[in-house]
Symmetry: C2
Subunit: 603 residues, 2 copies
């Protein structure tokens, strides 16, 4: 293009603000910089300033953060991202921005209100000198020329497989080979960080294959891409579990991961002196000690199965499964089944049992939020993750950043109207549900499903059809707490007796630090504290306010111990920042953590 158009007012406003910011930061004037923000401002930083994932609220927190970090970070080159024009709407100006720090390249998002920053997102996406090889910088592959004794790609891979973990130690050990573990491992491979992923199951993808057979992803394909390799254009909207399993299995191969199947971590301890973990693993029945510098638990953000302890569980003569181990309905045609719980897994399992011809009762113990899948797609996700979003230029990468730019503190404000719209859209459905006696809620503040997910990771069902079975009585509904089991059934506190050949405990999971308790020690689990949740002071997410997901993808109170997990989208997005934190440490960069999170809850 040779034509030049004059900058818009929005562009000028952003450029002016960035110049002011640059001036204040260059002068190491944290107070002046903070004055460029509104009083109710938010600055969310993903490792660019803080080597942490943290949100700073209000000018004082911004000033304090800058005062501590500026001399080290030395940010420069603040500018509007090439090709991205700032846009004004609803009294706000939004802009994509770029900058550099002393160690790498940053990208961010800015919202100006009356010439001051209301929200600022800063992310570090690349370390100078450690850029990932891609595009024009991709590896050559074939080694051209001729040199004696050179090895082939396969020989190099074979040698790595025989050496890493044996004669050479991995820098990073990832426990858990689901989407979070392998997405992170893929990034670490690109960053040249020697990494092993272990998983107790026999094949990559078995994390999904082993679940109940009717399971499909509840999130749509546009939201689910893994790093580097997008699903093809003909991939289904909602992946069946075995199909996503096959994809993840292929992914481990194509991304050249060092993936050890049938390998279980038995114990781990950290030596502060040497900065090294000693991890005993059992690989295909053989005991082996690994000595990584960094240990990452990717064992499922839902944590360990929360199997309740009811009186009589030992005398019940039928089958009992936690939802995570329930194989599906095939053996239960014509049998009587009781499912304890009323969230996602409970509904999916009830639906599949009913479809197989079982007599099914759901036991609702507390109120549940239900959002219909098509309403969620249409109202909740379409603007960021949909075919239309992609067509209008909102790539997955951009959508991730837009989402990340909204501070958790006020995210519910943006969510509430969406769920009000869903309530209106599906009014008949909710009336039928409630008429059937189902206790339905929209979250304590009406902010719906996604906030429940972020706050507690539970308390909802994305309806793909099973809610109607409850509404119309095909799946029976019982309500109340379980008192005990008998030889032949479940008895509720109100005395209701539910005969059962099968009891499924769809009773959820405990915090991820439970894995750390088992693998490392209860002391270390207590030291790092509860994982997940924002401190929203709502059910199962007690205060105080913490502002970010506890312990996820960022430094914890235990050196060299990290947690990753969540849905495919979070695994994709946050794996970049976790990978860069690990790379920076491997490369020996100075990585002082600002505002390391405090621990307020043990579980």
């Amino acid at each position: 293009m040779t034509t030049t158009t004059p900058p818009t007012e929005a562009t000028t406003a952003v450029q002016t603000w960035l110049a002011q910011l640059d001036q204040a930061l260059s002068a190491s004037d944290a107070a002046a910089a903070a004055d460029l923000f509104t009083e109710d401002c938010f600055w969310r930083d993903l490792i660019a300033f803080t080597w942490n994932i943290a949100t700073f609220e209000g000018r004082a927190e911004v000033a304090a953060m800058l005062a501590d970090t500026l001399d080290r970070v030395r940010p420069t080159g603040w500018r509007v991202t090439d090709g991205e024009e700032p846009a004004a709407a609803d009294g706000l100006i939004e802009a994509w921005i770029d900058f550099e720090t002393s160690v790498g390249r940053g990208h961010g998002h800015l919202r100006l209100r009356d010439g001051k920053a209301w929200t600022l997102l800063t992310t570090l996406y690349e370390l100078t000198g450690y850029e990932e090889p891609h595009g024009a910088q991709r590896p050559k592959g074939a080694k051209h020329g001729a040199s004696r004794g050179r090895t082939s790609w396969q020989e190099d891979r074979d040698r790595e497989a025989t050496e890493l973990g044996f004669t050479e130690q991995p820098y990073a050990l990832i426990v858990g080979g689901g989407q979070a573990g392998i997405g992170l491992a893929a990034r670490l491979r690109q960053l040249n960080v020697p990494t092993i992923v272990i998983d107790k199951r026999g094949r990559p993808g078995d994390q999904w294959r082993s679940r109940y057979k009717s399971l499909s992803l509840h999130d749509p394909v546009w939201y689910d891409h893994m790093p580097y390799l997008k699903f093809p254009d003909n991939w289904p909207v909602f992946s069946p579990k075995d199909k996503i399993a096959d994809w993840l299995e292929s992914y481990t191969r194509v991304m050249e991961l060092n993936y050890w199947p049938s390998t279980e971590a038995k114990s781990a301890s950290y030596n502060d002196q040497t900065g090294e973990w000693t991890v005993t693993v059992e690989r295909e029945g053989q005991s082996l000690v690994l000595r990584p510098k960094q240990l990452i638990l990717a064992t499922g953000m839902s944590g360990q199965p929360n199997v309740p302890r009811f009186a009589g569980m030992d005398v019940f003569r039928g089958d009992q499964h936690h939802s995570s181990a329930h194989p599906g309905p095939d053996a239960y045609k014509g049998r009587t089944c009781v499912v304890i719980g009323s969230n996602n897994s409970a509904f999916d399992i009830c639906g599949a049992l009913w479809e197989a011809g079982a007599d099914v009762t759901m036991v609702q113990r507390s109120s549940t939020h239900i959002a219909r899948s098509d309403a969620l797609m249409e109202i909740g996700l379409a603007a960021l993750y949909s075919e239309e979003a992609v067509a209008s230029g909102v790539s997955t990468e951009k959508a991730d950043l837009i989402f990340a730019s909204i501070p958790y503190r006020i995210m519910h404000v943006f969510q509430i109207p969406l769920y009000e719209a869903m309530a209106e859209r599906d009014r008949d459905f909710y009336e039928r549900l409630e008429k059937a006696g189902f206790d339905h809620d929209w979250g304590e503040d009406g902010s719906g499903l996604f906030m429940k997910y972020l706050r507690r990771g539970s308390g909802y069902y994305i309806d793909v059809g099973a809610a109607d079975l409850v509404a119309n009585g095909e799946v029976k509904l019982a309500k109340g707490q379980v008192d005990h089991l008998t030889e032949h059934g479940v008895v509720l506190e109100d005395g209701t007796e539910l005969p059962a050949d099968l009891v499924v405990y769809a009773t959820g999971y405990t915090s991820m630090n439970g894995w750390a308790a088992d693998l490392i020690s209860p002391e270390v689990a207590a030291k790092v504290g509860k994982c997940w949740g924002l401190g929203s002071d709502t059910a199962k997410d007690p205060g105080p306010w913490e502002g970010e997901e506890r312990n996820m993808w960022k430094p914890t109170q235990q050196d060299a111990l990290w947690f990753t997990g969540g849905n495919l989208a979070q695994s994709r997005f946050y794996s970049l920042f976790l990978a860069l934190q690990l790379k920076a440490r491997q490369a020996g960069l100075d990585t002082p953590v600002y505002a390391l999170q405090e621990v307020h809850h043990l579980r």
Copy 2:
């Protein structure tokens, strides 16, 4: 965008021409339509008008084709492709165009000179009513709602695996599971054509794994994408053979192909009455009869290994391998090796043997063309297939069509200057080669490597380093024809004796119809004739001029017998048109073939 800019002169010229074409075609006036073309025109049609792959040269051929096809094709809606502005340069106006036919949607490319069409490419890319589900039309995956007895994705896949080929017959049987076979199978899956791919090797990708260990793709990544699933952005420029093998193995899984490994086709015969093949296959040692309606040979466009018959091969005491079965150099360190041939495989194998520390002699029997890999990338491919091309908007799909728009008859004219530039760029290199006694050529008309590939599929080496070994004498060069072998070596016609522990016959391949001779009958092989080559009347590509690759991706003289093959790019591009030809037949559409090719050569 709400602003409207007036059409450019180029756009107006194209629109005017398309309107004239539309008028002539609507009036079924073939002569008037032909008058819209220059006297030296070319119309290349990929199944849109002819249910064939054919190029018509000059107004008379264009008029004849239209006279025969117009009433059936009824093309309408001729227009400039949305968002693609026609461009004028060098006295030509180029445009992307769209149109519809009575059975589907067409896309094409037009070059106007002085208001008349010089080249026109028409392709049919989609059959109305049989559109592939993708983008907004992608499958939903999860089946929402609840219905008794419904099956999961995995159960459906498992059922297909147990039924197809046993209780249910495939519509299409593809013999050969390399890139051509599986790329076609992926498209047929999307088009809902029941298909089985068989391959004699144990695992998908073994077509590549089984080759000599130093092999890498000689074409760069931008040129090599498979249908639907592009290589990620960090994929190496030149894939090592085992890495591409892993990719193809994953591809068969992700694309949900019915791929039968360890399965060999033993015999096949066609019943004209029933329109059905009877194909006996041996699957993991068990004999089985398949009855497909269509049989596709995807057994390698290079055809069968051409193993020479030299006197003394039976008395030679060392190892003898055809290049296709040569395992690589590991067993030959310090041994004396003779490689017969001087094309791609010969150079690769000489280089790998030298690297492993063998004493290597190459026997050049006839002159060879060498192009350096980096020169080919820079001069030959960069405009269409490169990181820069992608960045400037030339997607792989667009590059394929641009390339397809250049008529084979005049393609050498465009190629010659590229190779002149390479000769200039690498002058020192070629001087050194010739000084070493190597017979080098640029093709009979100086048109270089790609024309040799299209005409004969041999006669060249893409230099990735081994040519220097010959130039500097590290790999010894002998010249002349082989007379015979002795117990301990090779004797040339001039009496030169070359001692050898290993003789590799890098002596190329025969035509693909050799596979048909073995599998079906010599009579059918003779009926369909030679595969590949254009009839250029150059070495190994005898005239008369045929204008398209013989027998490839299009109807042959044998009903229901098809050939596919070639490099990854050809497999990607032509698989669409072959798949649509098969789909049209499966759907029962009328598919009269215009200008079915005649047979001029048996092999």
